[in-house]
């Protein structure tokens, strides 16, 4: 599916539902061939953003350009986007073949060509054996592949994924996630916007991640950037687990304004003998997590939540109620706004 790569530009997007502002003055540029995940809690506006790009939601103000063409006001059927719905939205009264062929029929493609392209698309998702079946006879994962083939066969400028993995059970989710990644590698020119609430999707799949909060951009960057240098406490807390400690613990950044804290990931914390740690506290909870052991330690005197520590397996684990010291490398500490 060779095609000129199309980027997406969104400018000053504001969407209101009645008195409520769902998206306010959002600017976003997606490079051709980029995989962007949009992450956030329910109600943060991420689905509205996707629906605006697809053409189902009207904006109060703002512009949308795809591949340089202004599509702000184009109706959905004139946008040439592939949209994968949360529950797949396969047409129940049509066979798998007719579902995938639908978009080509709408474009007036000749019957012989339709057959060829549908079969190719179904081969791409390894569903070529199910041509004649009605979608209801397929499992959830198979339905999703058909929906993906249906969205890809029209050679869309951008592929939009709406919570693509949320309807699958945990085991299947991991393997489909891997497949999506492989698919993106096979179609390097295809820009993909993927809306999800699962941070793991964002970490595994995306070139860049857009974390949204209350209709605004909380942070936009590569998943590593979001993890290693979160802009504020919200980003740090949403994207992975985090401990927030007073700046006074790190001399290098001590003296900053009171509305900042330092952020440390659980795997950056280490246990130390009593008297040898930066912080001391009492072990309040121990959870076995398979690859690591999660320890909660209530710090003495420091007004903070219990500190989470991920201990690699094999290290000595203190007992619940034991007192312990905690250390961390000062260069790991990231200053975040509250």
């Amino acid at each position: 599916m060779a095609q000129p790569a199309a980027g997406v530009e969104i400018e000053g997007l504001t969407v209101r539902f009645g008195p409520k502002t769902v998206l306010s003055d959002l600017d976003l540029t997606i490079a051709p061939g980029e995989f962007l995940t949009v992450l956030g809690r329910s109600g943060c506006g991420k689905t509205t953003l996707l629906r605006f790009v697809a053409g189902f939601t009207q904006a109060a103000s703002g512009r949308l350009r795809i591949g340089g063409k202004d599509l702000t006001a184009a109706p959905p059927h004139k946008r040439n986007l592939g949209l994968l719905f949360q529950n797949y939205a396969l047409f129940p009264h049509m066979s798998v073949f007719d579902n995938v062929a639908f978009g080509l029929t709408a474009r007036g493609v000749a019957a012989a060509q339709i057959r060829m392209r549908v079969e190719a698309a179904l081969r791409l998702v390894q569903m070529e054996a199910s041509l004649r079946l009605p979608p209801a006879s397929l499992s959830g994962g198979m339905q999703q592949r058909v929906a993906l083939a249906r969205a890809l066969v029209i050679e869309p400028d951008v592929l939009l994924l709406d919570e693509p993995l949320s309807a699958l059970d945990a085991n299947l989710r991991a393997s489909v996630r891997t497949e999506l990644k492989a698919l993106h590698e096979r179609l390097p020119h295809l820009s993909i916007i993927c809306v999800t609430h699962d941070q793991e999707d964002a970490m595994v799949l995306s070139d860049r991640t857009l974390l949204m909060r209350e209709g605004r951009i909380a942070q936009l960057g590569t998943p590593q950037e979001l993890y290693d240098s979160p802009r504020d406490r919200f980003v740090a807390g949403y994207f992975g687990a985090a401990n927030f400690l007073p700046t006074s613990l790190v001399p290098r950044i001590n003296g900053h304004a009171a509305d900042h804290m330092i952020c440390l990931r659980p795997e950056q914390m280490r246990l130390a003998p009593l008297g040898g740690g930066v912080i001391e506290g009492t072990v309040s909870n121990i959870e076995w997590r398979g690859a690591s052991i999660a320890l909660s330690v209530v710090p003495d005197g420091v007004p903070a939540d219990p500190i989470l520590i991920a201990l690699p397996r094999g290290e000595t684990v203190p007992e619940r109620g034991a007192r312990t010291g905690i250390i961390f490398r000062h260069e790991d500490a990231v200053l975040v706004g509250v």
Partner: protein, 282 residues
């Protein structure tokens, strides 16, 4: 002990339900059916001699009334269903806000007003205005159409579920213009609702009395109007014969509407469904 008691209750409930069912539904129909074949019914508990004479004696009036009833009912069913679909799709597009809810309420108004009052309104509004309207069957059609509109609208609107909205969005995201979405997605998906709309409009129209009696012009009496006239004059058995014919025709049409035409058509386009497909679609 407890299970035993529930079982008794169950049996009692079954008995009461069966009796009520027989009393409410079967007895009236059976009575009309039996009387239409009775030589006479009076002085004896049940008729003693059966005959076809009441059917043979049906006159030109009766047959033309029956024909009028069927024609009007067919027109009301088709028009009501089309208008109901149009209303439902329009109001859904509009959404609940900005007058949508108000319009929804207004469409349902004929459900709340007496058929005689609605008929009177139609009569007053149109008895003189367009020539050839009030003295033809069209005024009967208009009155009955107003009466069935809420039922047709309701069945269409209840089929426009959330899933259907998603399917329509999927179709338009795949590049289908609105007309194609309507033809290939909305109408096939709404087939059951369209059937029930056709059926209820047809059935209501076939038995409609109040509005029809108020508006019908000479020569356009429907079968119920004739039946009622005969009952009031005491010609019970001829009235039964005409009623049986009316109910029989209605039943045939309703069965016709319920037959699975749609699925046969849908699959003939895509080829034969496999056994698995058949299983899954059940």
């Amino acid at each position: 002990m407890l299970a035993d008691r529930t079982r008794h209750w169950r049996l009692l409930a079954a008995a009461i339900a069966t009796l009520a069912c027989a009393w409410l539904f079967i007895l009236p129909v059976a009575t009309v059916l039996l009387s239409s074949f009775a030589k006479r019914w009076g002085g004896t508990v049940l008729p003693t001699t059966l005959t076809l004479r009441w059917f043979e004696r049906l006159g030109a009036d009766d047959w033309s009334a029956l024909a009028t009833s069927l024609e009007v009912a067919a027109a009301v069913a088709v028009l009501g269903t089309v208008l109901g679909l149009w209303l439902a799709l329009t109001l859904e597009e509009r959404g609940r806000e900005r007058g949508g809810a108000l319009l929804d309420l207004l469409v349902m108004v004929p459900n709340g007003i007496p058929s005689v009052v609605l008929g009177l309104g139609i009569l007053i509004a149109y008895h003189d205005v367009p020539p050839g309207f009030s003295d033809s069957g069209l005024i009967v059609l208009a009155a009955q159409l107003a009466l069935v509109l809420p039922f047709c609208y309701r069945s269409a609107a209840s089929a426009l579920r959330r899933e259907l909205v998603v399917l329509r969005e999927a179709a338009s995201s795949l590049g289908a213009p609105p007309a194609m979405v309507l033809r290939r997605i909305v109408l096939p998906q709404m087939a059951p609702a369209i059937r029930s709309s056709l059926a209820i409009a047809f059935a209501i129209s076939i038995g409609e009395l109040g509005a029809t009696m108020t508006v019908y012009p000479p020569g356009f009496a429907t079968a119920p109007v004739l039946i009622l006239g005969e009952v009031e004059r005491g010609y019970y058995l001829p009235a039964s014969a005409l009623s049986v014919l009316l109910l029989g025709c209605a039943l045939l049409v309703l069965i016709g509407i319920a037959l699975p035409w749609g699925r046969a058509l849908a699959w003939s386009r895509t080829g034969r469904p496999s056994p698995a497909a058949k299983l899954a679609s059940q």
